[in-house]
């Protein structure tokens, strides 16, 4: 399987949906809608949506079934990047080679654009009326992932962590909440909309928890994050961090065994997400 081609094809699917659900830039207030679109388009590799699509395929459904979950997760991801970049957080001026939203549109608009993307994510999932009970379950998984116990709590601990005091366990705790939770929600949400049973959802959840942490380690390896307080690369060194990511990948892939060949896209995505540093 050509994972790059798979990613590009799935990115097109979610890009079309994002284009549909976002308010046009021309609508009033144009400043808000333009700011909301600034980081959504052209966007990154759309790896979280790809996980949602691949989870639907793993349980034997067409990828399109996962579209509301894929779209909503990407909106939540984008909101979190906009707020993380704010002056009072990481104070970043650039992302993906372009000015961050607060640099381009001002701080208040950046806060509001993030807020609006978060609300819109839930509107997208709540508009899925095919099977309300399943939509509600996918929505709950996403809300939990975005909430105080996961994404937001992880970001607060990330901001507060100090290089000399961050233990391996504390760093893993941040990765689980800040990175893995949203990937888990993509997988669970996508599979849930696609009709997965409880056993499959549990397996995909465990797969996501492991792949999410491994993905973050791979990201830190790629960025050469040796000075960041919340990086296993800084804490353990490159070689041990790489071993940890490989072990997590192996554990994650074990969870996919019962799915058989239908989980091949998911396996390839996992290997790609963790192997990007090679």
């Amino acid at each position: 399987m050509d994972v790059q081609a798979y990613l590009a094809e799935r990115a097109r699917l979610v890009d079309e949906a994002l284009e549909r659900v976002l308010v046009p830039s021309e609508a009033v207030p144009a400043r808000l809608h333009t700011a909301m679109r600034h980081l959504v388009f052209p966007g990154g590799k759309r790896i979280r949506p790809a996980f949602a699509f691949a989870a639907a395929e793993a349980v034997g459904a067409p990828p399109e079934r996962a579209l509301p979950a894929a779209t909503a997760v990407e909106l939540v991801h984008t909101y979190s990047l906009i707020h993380d970049d704010l002056p009072c957080m990481d104070d970043d001026d650039e992302r993906r080679g372009r000015p961050t939203v607060h640099v381009a549109f001002g701080e208040s608009t950046a806060v509001l654009a993030g807020d609006a993307l978060l609300a819109l994510a839930f509107e997208v999932l709540a508009s899925e009326r095919r099977e309300p009970a399943r939509a509600l379950l996918a929505l709950r998984a996403l809300a939990e992932a975005a909430g105080p116990r996961r994404l937001v709590g992880g970001q607060l601990d990330d901001l507060a962590s100090e290089p000399e005091r961050a233990t391996t366990e504390a760093i893993l705790g941040v990765h689980r909440r800040k990175t893995a939770a949203l990937i888990e929600a993509a997988l669970v949400g996508g599979a849930c909309l696609a009709g997965a049973d409880a056993g499959a959802l549990e397996r995909l959840s465990r797969f996501g928890a492991r792949i999410g942490v491994a993905f973050q380690i791979a990201d830190d390896l790629l960025d050469g994050e040796r000075d960041e307080p919340c990086s296993l690369v800084a804490r353990l060194g490159e070689s041990a961090a790489r071993e940890r990511a490989k072990a997590l990948l192996a554990e994650a892939l074990d969870e996919l065994e019962p799915f058989g060949g239908s989980a091949d896209p998911l396996r390839e995505l996992a290997r790609f997400a963790v192997g990007r540093d090679r």
Copy 2:
């Protein structure tokens, strides 16, 4: 009916629910959970939850049926106050006689506490499993109210409005989106969970749109908002603003006619919300 006693009784209901759904202050990260609770407790009059409860009663159901909607709307309201108070927005140091969240906990924690309250609101509604289709409808109404077309768009236009250029229509547009939308979502959400039919939901939606604007005018009259750019009191003068609020109240009450006596709590709440300046 003693509206103050009604409000106090309903406030107790929603306070208990808020206590249950918010993470305890002691849980890690304690800073986040304490900040999230700072403005939720002791809170205000809980008028939005009261509207949700009274809407359920209007359609003949016990108020408790509206509890998830009442709780979620209060969480969204609290998130919006925390973000509105931020230095990059209205830059307010005090609210309800206490330091604002960013003054007490710092700016990054205030942004994150607001974010977490917003996500938690949707988690609360998505946890309502009695009738998934109705929970999803209530949730969609809330997400729309909190999103770019309503609350967030209204706040951006409010921040951008200039006293000498704000027309009556522009001010009404801000009130509709920033204040009325959430009151509408409380009414529609509460009634929807309580089993209301489409006709009743439409009437309650129109009632909420009018009461919401009248409530904001009353609020501005109460605060003596004569210098605010986005105040009908400043634009039209006190007397004309008061007349406008009264006319909106009358229009709103007309919408309740088909409900008969079961809508009495809703009528009393509406009169209370609009009559607070007398």
